[in-house]
Amino acid sequence: MSEKPRYERPSLQRHRSGAMNKMGSFPGLRSKGQIDGVAVGELVERYGSPVFVFSQRTLEDRIRTLRDAMRLRWPRVQLAWSYKTNYLDAICQIHHREGSWAEVVSGMEYERAMRNGVPTSQIVFNGPYKDDASLERALVGQSMVNLDHYDELAAAERIAERLGLRPKVGIRLNMSAGSTPRWSRFGFNLDSGQAWDAVRRLLGGGKLDLAGIHCHLGTFVLDLDAYREAAGKLAAFANRLRDELGVKLDWLDVGGGFASQSRLKSQYLPGEQATPPLSRYAEAVADGLRGLNTPPSEMPLLILETGRALVDDAGTLITTVVANKRLPDGRRAVVVDAGVNTLFTSFWYQHQIHPAVPLHGTPEPTVIYGPLCMNIDVVADSLLFPPVEVGTHLLVGPVGAYNIPQSMQFIFLRPPAVLISPRGEHGLIRRAEVLEDLVSLDRVPDWLRGE
């Protein structure tokens, strides 16, 4: 056996004041050789690279933690799984096995929920565009439809009249709350009085009953006060509905938006430090609702549509280093086999990247590029990373939220997804795409075909 040390590519780091402690042992970068006890090498050998890997245990833990934290503080609580966040059948079915209903924002998502066996009366239907057929199906099916604008209100009335029904509906409200940017394009504005006008219009029409109010503040909301304030405003609105108009609500829906352990690009502190635990969010919502003036027997159902905070931390992407290069500005660049085509969320989040094997050597500012021939294909910029060899597997996380539904077949086919059970079994929950999946949709019109 050779006594010589293993070669590591030459690296020279200029000292900058304050940067010294980032050298040397480099505590920020831990290797992770396994996911829930299954070796990364085994997963790649079996399913290839890149591959999404989901932890059933983490997902179930998160669902139970949120549900229990909210139930501790509010008598009637129902989670409704936000399909858009990740609508793989297996992921949705884990939620439904845990007792969650479905929250959907399109006819396609509605059908996915029905395929997963969710009764239509346990589907919350949101979104700024519900086509007529989907709206009709939802009203007939007694889903919780939250109306977004006056045109939709009128459409719901036409359907009710035509079918001789008197459906219960909810309305979506938007408002300023805490320091979060306002998502004022959805629903009726509470602060300006528009929401109150909409209620009077709805009741005045005499064709629909108002049964719920809904708001969704935004996504990755780190500010707990935003929930305290929003829930307080919902409670005050509900009180006014009861006092002035005699409306008793069946449901109060506070939407989603809780943050995961991820880290926004603009964010200084890492997720473990910046993201409040789920129990703090539950506390803020319950605090805000405290002013609700309802006899215990008429307590509305509190619905949470939490998406990201439940599934994000359960998902990891395994990707593989395919090349090393040096940029003209001296930074090291690493090319990996999954880019923004697979990890759409790289545009907004600084993902954590862990090598599957311990890396030795001096960390250097490194850019991680995906495989696309596009300048925007950056998975991570300005990361301090030790030298890494071609073929090394990297674990990118958390990536369980929004990447699967938003990934695209741009230049490359979409990768498979795997689930690891609490007992350590693993299996495909989405197979890798093949060319036929794509080209089977294409058509060549007659006039382009040869004689």
Binding site: K4, Y7, R9, P10, L12, Q13, R14, R326, D329, G330
Partner: protein
Amino acid sequence: MELDLAISPSGFVFDPRTGATFSANPAARLLLEGMQEGEGLAALVARLQAHFEVGEADDLERDVLEFLRVLQDETLVPAERELEG
């Protein structure tokens, strides 16, 4: 090639012209020492081979040339300088 740098065995590098300091890993330190002795590309590659266990995927020539670029970027060697064969 002339390199007026103070290099410690632990890889601490000092540039007396600018006062800048650097950390060099073992391969970089070895190359800097070789360059101070005026070695060309082939000798520098041989120097790495003599000191390290080199894998099949490693491309030492490329690494030495890239390292020269790093030195040029850090203005430790003039931009127009080339290594002799």
